[in-house]
């Protein structure tokens, strides 16, 4: 009996660890998307990476982590580039261009998935919603299939690698990313390449979304990209504090969401997204109440001064 409990407990740990890393990576990347007003780009890339995963699998015949990452990053960059080119050539608004490009790429992905259902281990529902509860069962075996040791879920290792890449990239490129995000033409006047840092960021978004795919799916990853960063934006006074706050919000969302899903016996990913939304609303409410209090305080001061 006790061994059964231990296994159960381990499952929870793997799920929580994966969710935490997914949320933290999304939050860090999301900060830059929010500040650059490119939240829709996160939505776009999170969908079109499906095509990248499918193509990478069909071409290489393997579903190793590196092949998946490469496929996703390639399609992610193509999405960003195509959207921008369409915007420039057709003079459509940039949000319309993004909408055209990513839905097209995503649909091609969906068709390919249904055409090759037998060969690809991806079902359409899982693509859209993800299922983090199944994450612990798809594990990586180190070494031989029979004699090797089980080192834990695939999704966990993928997001751990991506989390480290995102963390190191943002730490190293922090000053440049700050300047480019704050004022592109100022950055350009200092000789900083805007396209380089734009596609650099798009690479990080692509990697983060593909790694989050198994866990939360294409729709809910958008919630994790945008909501914690947006909540942090409400409070932050510097870019550094915004990054920390976004990560804090994302972790709170994971813990509260996990408890919520346990209590309601519902989807973990959806509960995490709902918690992120609730935290944002609570933050907004507290800020509004404070504003009213401050106003009252000022009025009282004025009154006492007059009296």
């Amino acid at each position: 009996m006790s061994s059964f409990d231990l296994a159960d407990w381990l499952l929870d740990i793997w799920i929580l660890a994966t969710a935490s890393l997914v949320a933290a990576s999304c939050a860090m990347v999301g900060v830059f998307l929010i500040l650059r007003r490119q939240a829709l780009m996160g939505d776009a890339i999170s969908h079109s990476v499906l095509l990248g995963i499918v193509l990478a699998y069909l071409i290489s015949g393997s579903n190793s982590l590196w092949v998946m990452l490469l496929g996703a990053v390639t399609i992610g960059l193509i999405t960003a580039w195509l959207s921008e080119s369409l915007h420039k050539v057709s003079r459509l608004q940039s949000d319309a261009s993004i909408g055209i490009v990513f839905t097209l790429l995503f649909s091609i992905g969906v068709i390919l998935v249904s055409l090759y259902t037998g060969q690809i281990d991806l079902d359409q529902e899982c693509v859209l919603y993800g299922e983090i509860a199944f994450v612990p069962f798809d594990t990586i075996i180190w070494g031989d299939m029979e004699t090797g040791t089980d080192i834990g879920p695939r999704a966990f290792w993928l997001i751990l690698i991506v989390f480290l890449i995102v963390l190191i990239s943002i730490t190293l490129g922090f000053e440049r990313l700050k300047t480019v995000t704050f004022h592109p033409s100022l950055a350009l006047s200092l000789g900083i390449s805007i396209p380089f840092w734009h596609y650099f960021l798009m690479t990080l978004v692509s990697m983060t979304t593909v790694a989050s795919f198994d866990a939360v799916g294409a729709i809910l990853v958008v919630a994790l990209l945008i909501i914690p960063a947006a909540s942090a934006y409400l409070l932050a006074k510097s870019l550094k504090s915004m990054l920390w706050l976004a990560v804090l919000y994302s972790q709170l969302s994971v813990w509260i969401g996990y408890a919520l899903s346990y209590w309601l016996n519902s989807s973990i990913a959806a509960s995490i997204a709902v918690s992120a939304g609730l935290l944002m609303i609570v933050t907004l409410l507290i800020m509004q109440i404070r504003k009213v209090q401050q106003k009252r305080h000022y009025l009282q001061q004025l009154n006492t001064e007059q009296a």
Binding site: G173, E175, F182, S185, L186, L190, G191, K237, S238, M242
Partner: protein
């Protein structure tokens, strides 16, 4: 370097969606002077500055900085964008904005050093903004925001400064601080080129004037170029406005004459 021409614009033309914004503009700017670019709204003043800095595509012509293309002289040229183009809600404090002036000298992984911080500190003190160094930029008045961006340009330690309407919508204290800054920069042999819109103050603040209205009307020392005839050519068609302005200008010149007595 001081005997070279800090900025030379050669046959610059800019189109925006096939509409001509600037056509065949050529002029050069002398070293150690303050230079105003003036013209009516929509004359292409800001576009000219952006075209010079490579921030907007030009269809023809180029700009030389001390005889070299911009790529070789980026760090000796500091650009101050228009205040409206800046996202003032961005989570960043005053000190961080000013430190951006040092980024050109740093590799992408490097953080500003102690000496970079000292340069930024001096720039903030020069513009009386040191006390505000930890404020988020949204919590500043318009004039203070302008001074932060001037401090950023100053921290770059450039020798040519291109500013897009630095006097637009600022308070008296800031206006004085900017004029003081101009004097300081000129004393070091640096050159300042500003887009300017207030005709009343041109002759007081600037040594040299470039008049444009889609094309170059005139360029030269203020007292030679700022004539009724040239202003008519530049602002042509808006006579009522122009009459007011020339009258004001006449008065301000009278005031100046009295001042110098």
């Amino acid at each position: 370097m001081s005997n070279q021409i800090p900025l030379q614009v050669e046959q610059l033309s800019i189109r925006y969606h096939h509409k001509p914004v600037l056509t065949d503009v050529s002029f050069s700017v002398p070293a150690g002077k303050t230079v105003a670019i003036i013209g009516p709204n929509g004359a292409g003043k800001s576009s000219l500055l952006k075209g010079i800095m490579g921030l907007t595509p030009v269809i023809q012509g180029n700009a030389l900085f001390y005889g070299k293309p911009l790529a070789e002289k980026r760090l000796t040229t500091a650009y101050v964008p228009q205040r409206e183009e800046i996202d003032w809600d961005f989570p960043i404090d005053v000190m961080d904005v000013v430190l951006m002036g040092r980024h050109g000298q740093l590799k992408f992984w490097q953080r500003p050093s102690q000496s970079d911080r000292e340069i930024a500190e001096q720039a903030l003190k020069d513009l009386q903004m040191w006390d505000f160094r930890e404020r988020q930029i949204s919590q500043l008045s318009g004039g203070q925001q302008q001074r932060v961006f001037l401090a950023r340009a100053l921290a770059q330690q450039a020798s040519l400064y291109l500013m897009d309407e630095p006097f637009a919508g600022v308070d008296v204290a800031t206006e004085k601080a900017i004029i003081e800054l101009f004097k300081q920069l000129k004393a070091k042999g640096n050159t300042v080129v500003c887009v300017h819109h207030d005709l009343n103050t041109v002759s007081e603040y600037y040594d040299y004037v470039v008049l444009i209205n889609s094309r170059l009307i005139a360029a030269g020392p203020t007292d030679e170029v700022l004539t009724q005839d040239n202003l008519n050519k530049t602002y042509g068609g808006r006579l009522s406005l122009l009459n007011d302005l020339t009258e004001q200008m006449y008065r301000s010149r009278l005031d100046n004459a009295h001042d110098s007595d």
